[in-house]
C-alpha cells in the first residue's frame, strides 16, 4: 500500500515537497486555502537576483506534480486528530483526509503596512507596497501615480515591519533588501527618467549574486541609496509625498518630495499556522514562526513524530532556500517510510 502524505500549503515549499514525494512513490494530498495553488510566488513578476520570470520557476515546480498528487484548493484545516500512526485532518468543507505524515508548508503573510501609520499606507493614495508593485509589473503596466502621472521620483522604504520592535517584529525578513534593489532597477528600467531613492538601515546582501546586484543598481542604474530609516511620510496638496528621515551617513535630517512611495513589507507568520500549531501542540518561537525539532540538525522535523515543517513556516526564506528545504523534507520523509 502506498503511504499517503498530507501537505498543508501549496506555495513553493508545499509543491516542491509534493513533487519529490510523488516521484518517490508516495500518494500526496496538498491542501490550499486559496482558490488556486502557487502561493505568493504566483503573484510575483521577476525574481532576484537575476530577474528571471517567476513563472519559469512555478512551471518547473508544477511540472513534476503527477497524478498521484491530489490538489485540494479552497479548504482550511478545522482540526487534526492523531490516530495510531495516522493523522486525520478535518477540512472546512467537512471532508476528512487521512495520511501517514503531515507536512506544514503554510508559509508566510506580508506585513500589513497599515500598522505603520506614519508611512501613510491606506491614507495617502501614492503609498503602495512592494507586493503591489510586483502586481503592476506582472500585469505589464506602467508605474504611475494614482492620478495617472508618470513619477519623477520614487522612494523605496526598506524594513517596513521587519527589524522593528515597535510593531513587534524584531527579526529580519531576509528577502526584502534584495527585492528592493531589484525593484529599484526595474523602475529605472521601465522609467529611465525617474529617480529612485532607497532608504535603508543596512543592506543585507547575504546570498550569491546579491552584492553584485546592489553594485549594478548603483553603477549601472544610478539608484540612490540613503542610509536612514524613514521617520514619517506626509502628503502635499498635489498628492506628492514628503519623506522625512535622518541621513545617518551625513548625520543630518533629510526631507524629500517624491511622487510614489514603495514600502518593502516584511514577512510575518500566517495566522492560520498558529491555529494549526495550537491544534497539534507544536511549539511557536518568540517571532511567531514554528519551531522545528532542532534549529541546526533537525530543522525539518518537529517534536511530534510524523509532522514535518518546510519553507517559510519556520521564518523568512528565499525561493532558492525554500526549494532546497522542501527537497530535504521530502527526502527525510522518504527515508523514514522506505527504510521500514
Amino acid at each position: 500500500m502506498k503511504q499517503r502524505i498530507i501537505i498543508i500549503g501549496s506555495g513553493v515549499a508545499g509543491l516542491t515537497t509534493a513533487g519529490v514525494l510523488a516521484e518517490n512513490g508516495f500518494e500526496v494530498v496538498v491542501l490550499e486555502k486559496e482558490s488556486r495553488i502557487g502561493g505568493h510566488v504566483r503573484k510575483w513578476d521577476r525574481l532576484f537576483p537575476n530577474r528571471r520570470p517567476a513563472n519559469e520557476v512555478m512551471e518547473f515546480i508544477e511540472k513534476v506534480l503527477n497524478s498521484s498528487v491530489d490538489l485540494r484548493c479552497g479548504v482550511t484545516v478545522n482540526g487534526v486528530i492523531r490516530h495510531d500512526e495516522e493523522f486525520i485532518v478535518l477540512l472546512s468543507n467537512n471532508e476528512t483526509v487521512t495520511g501517514h505524515a503531515l507536512v506544514l508548508a503554510t508559509g508566510f503573510q506580508l506585513f500589513d503596512a497599515h500598522k505603520k501609520e506614519e508611512y501613510g499606507y491606506g491614507i495617502y493614495d501614492n503609498v503602495i507596497t512592494s507586493a503591489e508593485l510586483e502586481t503592476i509589473f506582472k500585469e505589464g503596466k506602467q508605474l504611475t501615480t494614482n492620478e495617472g502621472k508618470t513619477p519623477h521620483r520614487v522612494g523605496i522604504i526598506h524594513c517596513v515591519g521587519s527589524r522593528d520592535e515597535k510593531v513587534g517584529n524584531l527579526y529580519c525578513s531576509k528577502v526584502c533588501c534584495v527585492t528592493g534593489v531589484k525593484q529599484a532597477i526595474e523602475i529605472r528600467e521601465q522609467l529611465p527618467e525617474c529617480e529612485v531613492f532607497s532608504f535603508y538601515m543596512d543592506l543585507r546582501m547575504y546570498d550569491r549574486h546579491f552584492e553584485e546586484l546592489y553594485y549594478e543598481a548603483q553603477q549601472q542604474w544610478a539608484v540612490n541609496f540613503i542610509r536612514g530609516r524613514l521617520s514619517e511620510c506626509s502628503e502635499n496638496p498635489d498628492h506628492t509625498l514628503i519623506l522625512k528621515a535622518e541621513d545617518t551617513l551625513t548625520g543630518r535630517p533629510l526631507k524629500m518630495t517624491v511622487d510614489i512611495v514603495i514600502l518593502l513589507v516584511g514577512i510575518i507568520p500566517d495566522p492560520e499556522t498558529g491555529k494549526i500549531a495550537s491544534m497539534l501542540g507544536l511549539p511557536i518561537g518568540t517571532d511567531g514562526f514554528l519551531m522545528s525539532g532542532d534549529e541546526h540538525i533537525k530543522d525539518n522535523t518537529t517534536t511530534i513524530p510524523g509532522i514535518y515543517l518546510t519553507g517559510a513556516v519556520k521564518g523568512p526564506a528565499s525561493i532558492v532556500n525554500t526549494i532546497a528545504d522542501a527537497r530535504a523534507t521530502a527526502q527525510q520523509i522518504t527515508s523514514r517510510f522506505m527504510a521500514g
Partner: protein, 622 residues
C-alpha cells in the same frame, strides 16, 4: 518627693536626641531655603491666617489622616488611631499629671510614666466620678483606641487587601527596628500600667485595673518586679524608637508638619534639588500606596516605584536605572497621602544625570513663519499618526480658520520629550527657537494635537498667547456653530491621556466634545486614576514586551463595557493602543471629522499649506 527613677533615662535621652536631630534637620532645611523662600517664611509666620490654615491642615493630615481615609476607611482609621491617639495620650496625660503634681512644670517623663509615680496616691478604683476617675477612664479609652489601631496594623501585615492595598512596601532594617519599637510601645504601656494597677490595687482605669488584677493573679513571679520590668521595657522601646526615628521612615511625622507650613507659605518646588524637595523626600512615610497604582507593576517592575525611588534619594543612593524607570504618568502623585510631587522629583534627579551633551539643532536655524490667526502645532507624535493631522486640519479648514501648521516643516519638537529625559538645557534651545517662530506668526491662539506639547507650551513657554489642546479648540468651534455635525458613533470609550488628564487636568472638554458625536460608555479608573497606555516617552529602560503588558492591562479596563470604538486625545496613546486593540482606536479629532456631513467636507486641495516652506528637493550629496 522627687519623681524620678532610673528607668526613665532611656526615654529621656531618646527624646532629647530625637528633638535635637529633628531640630538640626529643620534648621538645615530652613536655612538652605533660597532667599525668596525665606522671605515667604518670615512673612508667613506673621500672618495668623496662613499659620492657622497650616495648623488646620497639620491636624487634618498628620493626625486625622484625611487623605488616608479617602483612600480606604480602614487605612484611615489605622493611621488616625496611632497619630491622634498618641497625641491625646500626651495632651491628656499632661493634664492628668498636673492634677497630681499640682504644678505646670513637670519633668517630660512624668506624664508618660505617671501611673508608676502615683501608684501610692490613694484614690480608689470605684471613685469613677472623681476627677482622677474620669481621667483614668479617658486615658484607658484612648489607650484602647491606639491598641485597636495596632491590632489593625497586625491584620494589615497579613491582609493588606482589606486596607485597599495589594502590595505593601518592603522595608529596610532601620524601618523594621523602628516599626517593632513603635508596635511595642503601647502594649508595653498597657502591661506596665496594668501590672502596677493590679499590684497596688489602684490607679487603673476600666481596662488596666481588671486586666492588672487578672495578670497579678495568674503570674507566678513577684508582680512588683514584673511591673517594674515593664516600665523599663516601656521606656526602652520609647527611647529606641526616638533614636531611630530620624533615620527611619518615621521622620515623616515631624517633616510633614514642616512641609505643610512650607506649602502654606507659598514655597514652590524648584527644578533643581532644593531644600523644599529635601523636605518632601523626608516627608514620605513609605506607606506604599504608590506601589499598587504604578502601571509598571504590570510589567513586573517592582523596584522603582516612587516609595523606593524617594527612599533612595533620601539615602543618597539611587541607581540611575531606578531614576529612569518611571513612566512619568503621574498616577502615584494623585494618591500620595503626603501630596509629594513624585514626577517633579524624578525629573530633578534626571536633570542631575544630564551629561550636558549638546544637541545638533543648527539645521533649524533658518526658521521663518508667516503671519496667521491660529497656530496649529501638531507635534512630532501626531506626525506619526497622519490621520489626526488630516482630521484636525480638515476641521479647521471647514471652520474657515486662517491657520498655519507650524511644525509641518519649520520645526521638529516642542521640547518636552527632552525635558522628560532631564535634558532641559537642550530642550531650551528648541523652546527658544519655537518661541521665535510663534512670535513671527503674530497669532493669538496656539492649538496642538499632542498633550505632551500642550503641557510644555503651558508650563515652560511663557508666551502671551492662548494655548489650547485640539479637544478644547474643536469644542469651541462646535459650540460657536462653525462645525456642522451629523451622525453619531455608538458606544465609545474615552481614554484619558496622562499628559492631558493628570498633567493638565483637562478632563471635561474631551468628554463634552465626544458627547456631541458619540454615546460614551462608562470606564473604570478614569480621569485622575486613568491608566498609562504604556507608550510613555518617560521611560526607555523597559522592553517592548513590558510595554505591551501595560498596554494590554490598560485596554482590558477600557474595553470592559464593550465599546465599539476607543477614543483618545493623544497621538501617542492612539499609536500605542492601535496594534493591540480589538476595536478601532481613534483620536477625538478623527471622530469629529467623520461626523461632519460628507457634502460639507473640504477636499484636500482646499487644505491650506505653506508653499514657502514646501520641501526643498534634496538628494544625497555625491
Amino acid at each position: 518627693m522627687i519623681n524620678f527613677n532610673l528607668f526613665v533615662l532611656p526615654f529621656f535621652f531618646g527624646l532629647l536626641y530625637m528633638l535635637l536631630a529633628i531640630g538640626k534637620s529643620w534648621y538645615r532645611w530652613i536655612s538652605a531655603l533660597p532667599a525668596i523662600d525665606k522671605v515667604k517664611v518670615t512673612s508667613g509666620i506673621r500672618h495668623p491666617g496662613q499659620v492657622i490654615s497650616a495648623l488646620k491642615e497639620v491636624f487634618l493630615e498628620a493626625f486625622i489622616h484625611r487623605r488616608m481615609w479617602k483612600l480606604n476607611p480602614l487605612l484611615g482609621y489605622l493611621h488616625m488611631s496611632f497619630a491622634l491617639g498618641w497625641l491625646l495620650l500626651i495632651v491628656l496625660g499632661n493634664m492628668e499629671s498636673r492634677f497630681y503634681s499640682g504644678t505646670h512644670l513637670n519633668a517630660p517623663y512624668y506624664p508618660i510614666f505617671l501611673k508608676f509615680f502615683i501608684h501610692d496616691k490613694l484614690v480608689l478604683f470605684f471613685e469613677v466620678y472623681s476627677v482622677p476617675g474620669v481621667f483614668r477612664f479617658i486615658m484607658d479609652f484612648v489607650l484602647l483606641f491606639v491598641l485597636s489601631g495596632l491590632v489593625l496594623a497586625f491584620i494589615k501585615r497579613k491582609h493588606s487587601k482589606w486596607f485597599g492595598m495589594k502590595q505593601t512596601t518592603t522595608h529596610q532594617l532601620t524601618d523594621r527596628v523602628a516599626l517593632t519599637c513603635l508596635w511595642l510601645i503601647f502594649p508595653m504601656r498597657l502591661l506596665a500600667e496594668s501590672y502596677t494597677a493590679g499590684y497596688y490595687g489602684n490607679g487603673g482605669g476600666f481596662m488596666t485595673q481588671p486586666l492588672g488584677n487578672a495578670l497579678v493573679y495568674i503570674t507566678p513571679l513577684p508582680s512588683e518586679f514584673i511591673a517594674y520590668t515593664m516600665w523599663w521595657g516601656y521606656s526602652l522601646v520609647l527611647g529606641i524608637f526616638f533614636v531611630t526615628l530620624p533615620y527611619s521612615r518615621y521622620m515623616h511625622i515631624p517633616t510633614e508638619v514642616l512641609l505643610i507650613f512650607f506649602r502654606h507659605f507659598g514655597i514652590q518646588p524648584k527644578k533643581w534639588y532644593s531644600s523644599f524637595t529635601e523636605t518632601e523626600v523626608h516627608a514620605c512615610s513609605r506607606c506604599g500606596v504608590c506601589i499598587d497604582v504604578c502601571p509598571l507593576r504590570a510589567a513586573e517592575v517592582i523596584d522603582s516605584q516612587a516609595v523606593y525611588f524617594i527612599r533612595g534619594v533620601r539615602d543618597n543612593y539611587v541607581p540611575e536605572e531606578i531614576t529612569q524607570k518611571c513612566l512619568i504618568c503621574g498616577r502615584c502623585q494623585e494618591v500620595c497621602p503626603v501630596g509629594i510631587k513624585t514626577d517633579a522629583l524624578r525629573l530633578i534627579k534626571r536633570r542631575e544625570l544630564n551629561s550636558g551633551q549638546a544637541t545638533e539643532f543648527r539645521y533649524l536655524s533658518n526658521g521663518h513663519a508667516k503671519p496667521a490667526d491660529v497656530i496649529y502645532f501638531s507635534g512630532c507624535m501626531t506626525h506619526l499618526t497622519p490621520t489626526i493631522i488630516r482630521a484636525t486640519k480638515g476641521i479647521m479648514t471647514k471652520a474657515g480658520v486662517n491657520y498655519i501648521h507650524l511644525d509641518e516643516n519649520q520645526t521638529i519638537c516642542c521640547g518636552r520629550p527632552l525635558m522628560i529625559a532631564g535634558k532641559d538645557r537642550q530642550a531650551s534651545e528648541l523652546i527658544e527657537f519655537n518661541k521665535l517662530l510663534i512670535k513671527q506668526t503674530q497669532a493669538k491662539l496656539l492649538v496642538t494635537s499632542c498633550p505632551i506639547c500642550y503641557r510644555v507650551f503651558r508650563e515652560e513657554y511663557n508666551i502671551p498667547i492662548r494655548i489650547q489642546h485640539h479637544s478644547q479648540y474643536i469644542l469651541d468651534l462646535v459650540k460657536t456653530g462653525k462645525i456642522p455635525l451629523q451622525g453619531n458613533f455608538r458606544r465609545v470609550a474615552y481614554h484619558d491621556p496622562c499628559e492631558l488628564g493628570r498633567g493638565t487636568k483637562t478632563f471635561e472638554a474631551p468628554r463634552e466634545l465626544l458627547g456631541k458625536v458619540a454615546d460614551l460608555v462608562p470606564v473604570r479608573d478614569q480621569t485622575n486614576n486613568a491608566h498609562c497606555c504604556g507608550g510613555s516617552l518617560g521611560i526607555f529602560e523597559i522592553s517592548s514586551h513590558q510595554r505591551d503588558t501595560m498596554t494590554k492591562q490598560a485596554l482590558e479596563i477600557l474595553l470592559e463595557h464593550e465599546p465599539e470604538t476607543l477614543a483618545t486625545a493623544c497621538p501617542l496613546c492612539k499609536k500605542t493602543f492601535s496594534p493591540h486593540s480589538p476595536v478601532k482606536v481613534m483620536d477625538i479629532a478623527e471622530l469629529v471629522y467623520q461626523a461632519i456631513p460628507e457634502k460639507e467636507l473640504p477636499t484636500i486641495s482646499q487644505l491650506p499649506h505653506l508653499s514657502s516652506c514646501f520641501v526643498s528637493a534634496q538628494s544625497r550629496p555625491e
